[in-house]
Symmetry: C2
Subunit: 202 residues, 2 copies
């Protein structure tokens, strides 16, 4: 079963909204309710979820717990992924303190930095490890996911090292596009691009 | 001239890549060079940029400085927008320390927090201001853009206050969808949704 990338891209939003509904003690929801919360048309939501088959019958809505389990399985976040964070500056530090990863499929396992002054410090419960041991650790523990919080000028170099050590998915916070081999996943977070997308409309 | 949202969404990426090329002392680039750096097809880039007319002639490439000026004008980031940051926790603190806003059209002007222990502290060069004065300050100074770095459970309430005070664009870091009136821009940054978009492919 091949699911279009654009549909996969929306599933984490559905999952997040469903978890929220579950926290609010709802057992059932509808494409209309989800659509209203996400500002996505209910027709789009029904179509997206139909890729996975067997959700709810017309008129009875979606069983939230079942749908969450199904989406978590599809996205493979019903298991816990170890994540390496590279860069222990302000951003890497904020990431390491963030408590929102653990119940959504991810566990920060390592925090690396190149600076001798940072190495050995404790940040957000992690001991900052030297970059010199990064490749070996990642290879040894089979870490597949990394978050890049290094300066733009170092991002490509660090990404190359990560990929070479076996990382297959990179979330890059450095404000620069980086090039990864075919088959390696890359996503970007750059607040300025988001801000610039809005100023056009102001 | 109406430009599709999806094209507007790519312009910040073009702008970022062009600034990079400029830093590397290139006066001219091509849709192929840009495409290679951004992993976007050169045909797509030519088509996107054709919306603005008059860029380069076939075979001579794009004048980087001219194209940057043009894109900055289109996105309205040739002026400097004041930005209010709400939430002075680890994330709000990292945002306030980030030096990447100022030469891309934005200046963090205010940092607000609800916690009495945080108010009055200096973070990243800003004095943390109390939420109680937020609406008045935003209205008085005509702040149009805010970044939300508050817990999910407070995000909607704070967004409502911001909009009521005149904010027209919100970049929301809280892991929850929020509802804003028609005409108010909203963008989201949630690292977990990005990570979950990648795990499907691992």
């Amino acid at each position: 079963m091949s699911i279009p990338d654009i549909v996969i891209g929306r599933l984490p939003l559905y999952l997040r909204a469903l978890r929220r509904l579950q926290q609010e003690s709802n057992p059932v929801t509808s494409s209309h309710e989800l659509g209203r919360r996400l500002d996505i048309s209910s027709a789009q939501i029904r179509k997206d979820l139909s890729h996975f088959g067997g959700f709810g019958k017309q008129g009875t809505g979606y069983q939230i717990e079942f749908l969450i389990e199904r989406l978590e399985a599809v996205l493979q976040v019903n298991l816990e992924w170890m994540v390496a964070v590279v860069g222990a500056g302000n951003l890497g530090s904020a990431i390491s303190h963030y408590r929102g990863f653990q119940d959504r499929g991810f566990r920060i396992a390592y925090l690396f930095d190149i600076s001798p002054e940072k190495v050995g410090q404790r940040i957000g419960g992690f001991e900052v490890l030297p970059m010199s041991g990064m490749s070996e650790t990642i290879r040894r523990d089979g870490v597949k996911i990394a978050m890049l919080a290094v300066p733009a000028e170092n991002a490509q170099f660090v990404a190359d090292q990560l990929v070479e050590a076996g990382v297959q998915a990179i979330l890059n916070y450095a404000p620069i596009n980086i090039i990864v081999p075919e088959g390696v996943q890359i996503q970007y977070i750059d607040p300025v691009t988001h801000l610039q997308r809005m100023t056009y409309y102001l």
